[in-house]
């Protein structure tokens, strides 16, 4: 396997994606779910920057990545606020107890 920078970065992106999805499937606490989402977005950012690096268009990649960071931050903020409110109203953050859409 050619160990160029691009390949290493490619493996890194896929591993981060894998870790993020694994976390989404495993975690029972809502905060951990938000953390797993953040890891997924980091994988996407790494993918953007790698693509920009590979094609020589690093500045376009940077501007897109900045947009993604801003949007993702807002998403994280609102998700955390939702989690806090759920804790206040329903008293629990465990996904097993939050299965109101069952059936």
């Amino acid at each position: 396997m050619n160990l160029s920078l691009l390949n290493i970065a490619g493996v890194g992106i896929l591993s981060l994606l894998g870790v993020g999805f694994y976390g989404l499937l495993i975690c029972r606490n809502l905060f951990k779910v938000v953390i797993a989402l953040q890891i997924l977005v980091k994988a996407a950012l790494l993918g953007l920057v790698t693509a920009g690096y590979a094609n020589g268009k690093i500045n376009s990649a940077q501007s897109l990545a900045i947009t993604v960071i801003v949007a993702d931050t807002i998403v994280a903020v609102i998700a955390i606020a939702l989690a806090v409110q759920i804790q206040r109203q329903l008293g629990t953050l465990d996904i097993k107890n939050l299965a109101g859409m069952r059936g």
Partner: protein, 184 residues
């Protein structure tokens, strides 16, 4: 070599964030992973994104997490996961292999025109992005305000209640007085 180590450690720290027993540790592992990611960005030539990622990812989001975990409190997170770990792991590995079949080996290409500087790209070519970011931030703040509002108790006006009680007392006295007068 350093690059490979950086990538490897980022992935390891991300995994540790998922695995951590306490929520606070989880948030802190995420912060470290963000910091390493910022270094990776810098090494690839995206300095601006590196700054953003470091300050926002390792700074703002971590502070938010710590704050929220403080408010909401820690629950017992040592419970068994709902989806069996083998199933989760298996599905993830299948996805990883499929995507790697598409993505690797990675190839590069050279652009036809030399690229413009970062500020030109951001403020001229992608100015619509900037406007949309402003809109997102605005709506995010509004959403947050709405979400974090407390459910208030019904409004209390102590002075008004006192005045109303006074009036009721006076009316009662007048009534009793009129009964007494009528009796005599």
């Amino acid at each position: 070599m350093t690059f490979a180590l950086l990538v490897a450690f980022t992935v390891i720290f991300a995994f540790l964030a998922i695995q951590a027993k306490r929520l606070l540790s989880s948030a802190l592992w995420l912060a470290v992973a963000s910091a390493l990611l910022a270094v990776i960005f810098y090494l690839m030539g995206a300095q601006l994104v590196a700054i953003f990622e470091l300050s926002i990812g390792a700074g703002l989001v971590t502070v938010l997490f710590v704050f929220a975990i403080g408010i909401a409190g820690e629950e017992d997170t040592n419970l068994r996961s709902l989806v069996p770990k083998t199933l989760a792991g298996g599905v993830t590995i299948i996805m990883f292999l499929l995507l790697s079949w598409f993505l690797l080996p990675a190839q590069s290409a050279q652009p036809s025109l030399p690229e413009q500087s970062v500020s030109t790209v951001i403020w001229e070519q992608r100015s619509l992005d900037v406007l949309l970011q402003i809109a997102i931030i605005f709506s995010g703040v509004l959403g947050l305000l709405g979400l974090l509002a407390e459910i208030k108790a019904p409004l209390e006006y102590p002075l008004a209640e006192q005045a109303a009680a006074e009036r009721d007392r006076e009316l009662d006295e007048l009534y009793y007085q009129s009964i007494e007068k009528g009796a005599t």
